[in-house]
């Protein structure tokens, strides 16, 4: 044991009970014979106890509210600039598979939402990426920011390859907007209704109780998704999954798993 680095690392591992019996015996002999090793061991022990003695922290109200909603879409921080985090798997999958789920903007019926959808689509037209190359997430700081729909605040924006994803919140409801170049395969939209939004073809349907809107504007596709976490989890608790092929299925299954695993009630 002539390597001092090895010695040092063994002292911490010894302290943590992470050495084999033979190695631990070596360290015990060393500690008996070396004052330097003993001093080192005591210092490492002290450092460990300092950290272990740190108290459990009470989360601030914003975090508590976020946790209670079970939602990552916390209110925008008072510092102003929205937090930019990576796209969730839900969003990634939604973009990748064009499987859309959620609740359409507004709750008063689709006809009342058409103008809102049109506004949102227009606001996002300027942020459609023009390249077809996947963009590293670190580059998103340079991406253009979409303007916010009336009454909503941008809390999350991300770019994934050819798609732009933005999330908004009005404090009660969360809305995601996916914008990407491409063509909608309308034949795949076997349920729901073909609609017109701002003169462009669109689709509005209900999937497992959730309304979804897809709009083809020019060469770009816009998908508007809103969700309320509790509603999603309630759905997850109540429905049975036969085929796990859609985003809704996976989310629902995850929610069901949560309920069963932790014995929680919706």
């Amino acid at each position: 044991m002539t390597d001092p680095t090895e010695l040092d690392e063994r002292l911490s591992a010894y302290l943590d009970g992470e050495l084999s019996a033979d190695e631990a015996s070596e360290i015990r002999l060393l500690l008996e014979s070396s004052a330097l090793a003993r001093a080192e061991f005591e210092a490492v022990t002290e450092a460990r106890e300092f950290v272990r003695g740190l108290p459990l922290l009470e989360p601030p109200p914003d975090v508590v509210r976020m946790l209670r909603r079970g939602s990552p879409l916390a209110p925008v921080r008072s510092s102003g600039k929205p937090a930019r985090t990576r796209l969730s798997a839900i969003a990634i999958s939604a973009v990748a598979t064009a499987a859309f789920w959620g609740v359409v903007v507004g709750t008063t019926g689709f006809s009342a939402s058409v103008s809102s959808v049109d506004t949102v689509v227009a606001a996002h037209s300027s942020v459609i990426p023009t390249d077809a190359v996947a963009v590293d997430s670190a580059e998103m700081d340079n991406m253009p920011m979409p303007s916010e729909p009336p009454g909503m605040t941008l809390v999350h924006v991300e770019r994934l390859g050819r798609a732009t994803h933005a999330m908004y919140s009005d404090g009660a409801q969360q809305v995601s907007v996916f914008a990407e170049p491409g063509r909608v395969d309308w034949s795949a939209m076997s349920v729901g209704d073909r609609v017109e939004i701002g003169g462009d073809p669109g689709w509005h349907g209900s999937i497992e109780g959730y309304d979804v809107v897809v709009v083809q504007r020019g060469r770009n596709v816009f998908t508007i998704v809103a969700e309320t976490s509790d509603e999603m989890m309630d759905m997850g608790e109540s429905m049975t999954v036969d085929e796990k092929t859609s985003i809704g299925d996976r989310v629902r299954d995850a929610a069901d798993n949560l309920v069963q695993t932790f014995g929680l009630r919706g």
Partner: protein, 159 residues
């Protein structure tokens, strides 16, 4: 149901996030990211240590963010022997220090992120080296190095 999650695990999630990031705003962002990952990862959760699972998610989210921001690999293990084996403060000198949580947190925050993650998982969460190895996807020898070197630097910072 999330009320119960918040009540039962909120303080733990936030504490781990704060210990890793060292400030309230970044801790809040990290909790946000943890929630995203929890919601997508629930399907793969296997009954066991929920705190361990949450800690792994938080730590990996933290390290992913660090690496994304740096756009380069995290600080490699130092080769400078002075960092590996800092001059030892006399044990009695170190033990007489009066250290406040804020100072300790500051020292924790000053650690290279990889060391910090290993130390937090070990000494805040209470994971074994094997568990940390699996959480961080590094060999146990690397865990051993990071924990020890992290503690060594902590001791330096605090004495």
């Amino acid at each position: 149901m999330w009320d119960e999650v918040a009540q039962e695990h909120g303080a733990f999630i936030y504490t781990v996030a704060y210990r890793l990031t060292g400030n309230r705003d970044d801790a809040q962002d990290l909790v946000q990211e943890v929630l995203l990952r929890v919601r997508r990862g629930l399907k793969t959760y296997k009954p066991g240590s929920l705190h361990g699972w949450l800690s792994r998610i938080a730590t990996n989210a933290f390290l992913d963010d660090v690496r994304r921001k740096q756009r380069q690999p995290a600080d490699p293990l130092p080769e400078n022997p002075e960092r590996v084996l800092p001059k030892s403060a006399a044990a009695d000198e170190a033990l007489t220090q009066v250290t406040f949580p804020e100072e300790i947190q500051q020292a924790v925050t000053s650690l290279p992120e990889d060391y910090r993650a290993a130390v937090v998982l070990s000494d805040v969460v209470g994971m074994s080296y094997q568990e940390i190895s699996e959480a961080l996807e590094v060999p146990i020898g690397t865990v051993r190095s990071r924990i020890h070197r992290g503690r060594s630097q902590l001791r330096e910072a605090l004495t």
